[in-house]
């Protein structure tokens, strides 16, 4: 008799633990799906986007829908995986889509302007602060598949709340 009550007590505890775990798993799965398919917060810092984003660090919202649908356009602010170090992400502005001719100018290499054609399936990215940005001017056009998402809203600092660059 004692054993039966002991067993039923254990069964109740195990059932409750299973339920809690299931809820946690579902929550984490939902989080993963929102993060990868819809929108996620990102912390961006560094001098390369200076007039648009602050140097010390902004928190921006990145949406992943338009990149999947192929709707990323010239002039969009994107988060892109660095072609040189896949663990790092860069925030840059798209200056040319595939087939565009880009005229660029690098103050580090002299005054001459150069011209490049963006090959198929690639984009040309550049920082807004051309003096302190490591971008397509150095490593060339990057494949579209490296784009992680498009920056569409800034949430921190609070006085800059809104669409960046406006």
């Amino acid at each position: 008799m004692k054993l039966v009550s002991y067993m039923s007590q254990w069964r109740g505890i195990a059932k409750e633990a299973m339920d809690r775990t299931a809820i946690a798993v579902k929550f984490l799965c939902c989080l993963h799906i929102t993060d990868t398919y819809f929108c996620s917060p990102t912390h961006v810092y560094g001098p390369s986007m200076l007039p648009t984003l602050n140097m010390v660090g902004d928190i921006v919202l990145v949406e992943h829908v338009s990149q999947r649908l192929g709707k990323v356009r010239h002039g969009d602010l994107v988060v892109i995986r660095s072609p040189l170090d896949p663990k790092r992400c860069l925030t840059k502005r798209i200056m040319g889509m595939e087939g565009d001719t880009v005229t660029y100018f690098d103050p580090m290499l002299g005054d001459a302007t150069r011209v490049a054609v963006v090959p198929k399936g690639h984009v040309w990215i550049q920082g807004d602060n051309i003096f302190a940005s490591h971008d397509s001017r150095h490593f060339g056009p990057v494949p579209y598949g490296l784009i992680q998402g498009k920056v569409f809203f800034r949430v921190w600092p609070l006085d800059c709340l809104g669409v960046p660059g406006q």
């Binding site: 799906i33 995986r81 660095s82 040189l84």
Partner: protein, 169 residues
């Protein structure tokens, strides 16, 4: 009343199953079909020219390697094509970043740039790979192929690179 609650329960189960499946296939493992003969004889050893035949291999792709981007020679990887981001290709890594690599086509020796790798199909004659689009950034890699899971007579792990390829390096 009864049927609507049944419907509600069914939908709830279905959605739960869906989100768990998507999460697991995004983060951990997934199964994808292989089309085309560019990796023959490792995958799809006898492909006829007709598309969508029943002898397509299904392979297990693990995504753990993408967290650290640590790959080795001879890994078979899935990556999104640098020419068209909607396409996925399956090829074998032949050289990693910073290595000197001699291609067999024109006897050039070239250095794979930092953060890139050189991928080639096992079937060199019918393969669209780094010989046509150059080295690819590691960031494009979506996973590593580890096993063939279908058809049943071909279940097993992926072999390391074919011997003749090793001797040519």
């Amino acid at each position: 009343m009864g049927s609507s609650s049944f419907l509600w329960n069914f939908t709830k189960k279905f959605v739960t199953f869906g989100i768990i499946t998507v999460t697991v296939s995004d983060r951990y493992v997934t199964v994808v079909p292989v089309r085309g003969g560019s990796m023959s004889p490792t995958l799809n050893p006898k492909t006829s020219s007709s598309a969508g035949n029943f002898s397509d291999d299904y392979v297990l792709v693990e995504k753990f390697c993408v967290d650290k981007y640590r790959f080795s020679h001879g890994d078979v990887v899935v990556f999104s094509s640098p020419l068209n981001h909607k396409e996925r290709h399956i090829k074998r890594i032949v050289a990693l970043s910073g290595e000197w690599f001699g291609s067999r086509q024109n006897y050039d020796v070239l250095k794979v740039p930092e953060g890139h790798c050189w991928v080639e199909g096992d079937n060199a004659a019918f393969s669209m790979d780094s010989k046509s689009f150059g080295p690819i950034p590691l960031g494009l890699i979506r996973g590593r192929v580890t096993h063939v899971v279908w058809p049943p007579q071909r279940i097993g792990a992926i072999q390391s690179p074919p011997r003749e390829r090793l001797s040519s390096l």
